[in-house]
């Protein structure tokens, strides 16, 4: 059975899947709205969590949260399941499709044959919608793709049951009931409040705006601590997390700014509109940072001055973001 599912390419996989699923049920929630209501924006730098030998950096909240938050805040009833057995997980997915329920899945990009090889790493927090199945060929709406795709049973099984961190364990999620009316202003408020809380309050240096300051200090040490090859790999990873497919650029800052703009017109709150512009400027700062970081990567030297300069740029981003969240928190 193939469910007539409207595929819309989006900037980011999870907010994209969330938006596409909600639109299937007639709720006009754009991707930026899903991202903002789901409190998708974040920052974390974890030097002790090494991914392929490089410290982990995240510009977004951890996987699964956006869909969960959006459903909760819009009073949409949804279900999420994980499985201990591959066969069971695949069987349950087929049952859902037979019942006409388009179903979100958490997968590893490494096992998605429709993606170009160049993007296929062991990144296990990708999201897509399965909206059909015939003779063990599954129909896929992947928000980062231009069009719908198909995937064979074995590939999908591998992608859903990939190992490593985070382990998807076949996680699938779907909407079971939607409300008659939406209280968007309330959902927006809750989403913004949580983002402010997560960015401002963590007392640990690895999360929120403090992590940007922390990273700016770390970068200064790279040329002394690491050999040039490693140091540029560390830098390259920062750019990839910030700019590569599925981020919408500037580490999700533009996506959130688009949300604030939409939120301003929904709530008739001009402050949000102004803050959207502030965040756009911060997004440009992030892009500038990526541009200079890439130049240093290309030079492949332990240019101490270059690293100091990056560190300074990052510190000024920290100051801008800190001021931004303080203002945003005052709106509500």
């Amino acid at each position: 059975m193939i469910i007539p599912f409207e595929h819309k390419p989006q900037a980011h996989c999870e907010s994209g899947v969330t938006s596409n699923l909600l639109r299937f049920y007639g709720l006009p929630i754009s991707e930026p709205l899903a991202f903002g209501i789901g409190s998708g924006l974040f920052f974390a730098h974890l030097p002790f969590v090494k991914i392929n030998g490089v410290p982990g950096t995240a510009y977004r909240i951890y996987p699964g949260q956006i869909f969960k938050n959006v459903c909760k805040r819009l009073e949409v009833t949804a279900k999420s399941e994980t499985f201990s057995s591959v066969e069971k997980g695949m069987q349950r997915l087929k049952e859902n499709i037979q019942q006409g329920i388009p179903t979100g899945c958490q997968v590893s990009v490494f096992y998605l044959p429709f993606l170009p090889e160049v993007f296929r790493f062991h990144f296990n927090a990708h999201n897509l919608v399965i909206h059909g199945e015939e003779n063990n060929i599954f129909h896929v709406s992947d928000p980062v793709m231009d069009d719908k795709c198909i995937i064979a049973y074995d590939d999908l099984a591998k992608a859903r049951f990939a190992k490593g961190t985070p382990e998807p364990k076949g996680r699938m999620y779907y909407i079971t009931k939607v409300p008659d009316t939406l209280d968007l202003p309330m959902a927006i408020k809750l989403g913004i409040k949580q983002t402010c809380f997560f960015m401002k309050s963590p007392p640990l240096p690895w999360f929120g705006v403090n992590a940007i300051k922390f990273l700016s200090k770390q970068i200064q040490k790279y040329p002394e601590k690491l050999e040039p090859r490693k140091a540029t790999l560390y830098l390259g990873n920062l750019i990839r997390m910030q700019e590569e497919i599925g981020t919408g650029g500037a580490g999700f800052r533009f996506l959130y700014a688009a949300f604030l703009q939409e939120a301003a017109s929904i709530t008739q709150n001009q402050n949000l509109g102004e803050l959207s512009q502030t965040l756009t400027a911060i997004g440009d700062q992030w892009r500038n940072f990526a541009y200079h970081t890439a130049r240093l990567c290309k030079a492949r030297t332990s240019d101490v001055v270059g690293y100091k300069e990056l560190s300074k740029q990052l510190y000024s981003i920290y100051e801008s973001e800190k001021a931004f969240y303080n203002q945003l928190a005052k709106v509500y």
Binding site: P9, Q10, A11, P32, N52, G53, F110, P116, E117, V118, F119, R120, F121, H122, V144, M145, D146, K163, G164, T165, E167, R229, T232, L233, L235, G236, N237, I239, R240, E243, E244, I245, G248, G249, A250, F254, L255, A257, A258, Q261, E262, S276, Q277, T280, G283, D284, R287, A290, Y291, T293, A294, C297, K298
Partner: protein, 134 residues
């Protein structure tokens, strides 16, 4: 970022030319947001290409290590599949120290057929290919 500034830098390495267009949120001159497409950006291309160069560099190194008898083919195929010890250990359902042992050629030659099969399946190759990387 303004709409006119959206970069269109294609990836000119691996199969990057086939990369789907990326959705971006950018602003009109008046600051209002609009969704648009980008073929890519030089800065992100540099970073991604560098990650691939590192893999290719490691792969050549691992091939040499195998030929010199320093390590078993498992190290080579692990790199080829963009895995690290932690990921590979999770796939074959072993502890990391066990996988590290299997990378020693002397231990590898004594691995059971069953264990070899497990590795071959994870790397999606036959046992013959596993024993003799091309």
């Amino acid at each position: 970022m303004h709409l006119e500034e959206v970069p269109q830098d294609k990836k000119k390495f691996k199969d990057g030319e086939n990369a789907p267009k990326k959705v971006l949120y950018v602003t009109h001159a008046d600051g209002s947001y609009v969704q648009t497409n980008s073929a890519g950006w030089e800065a992100e291309n540099v970073a991604l290409e560098q990650a691939w160069e590192e893999i290719d560099h490691q792969l050549a190194q691992e091939k040499l290590n195998f030929e010199k008898g320093v390590s078993s083919p498992i190290a080579y195929y692990m790199t080829k599949n963009r895995m690290d010890i932690g990921i590979l250990a999770a796939y074959v359902n072993k502890w990391q120290w066990q996988v590290k042992r299997h990378i020693k050629p002397s231990v590898f030659t004594n691995l059971s057929e069953k264990m070899l099969q497990k590795y071959a399946e994870v790397f999606n190759i036959s046992i013959e290919q596993l024993k003799k990387p091309e």
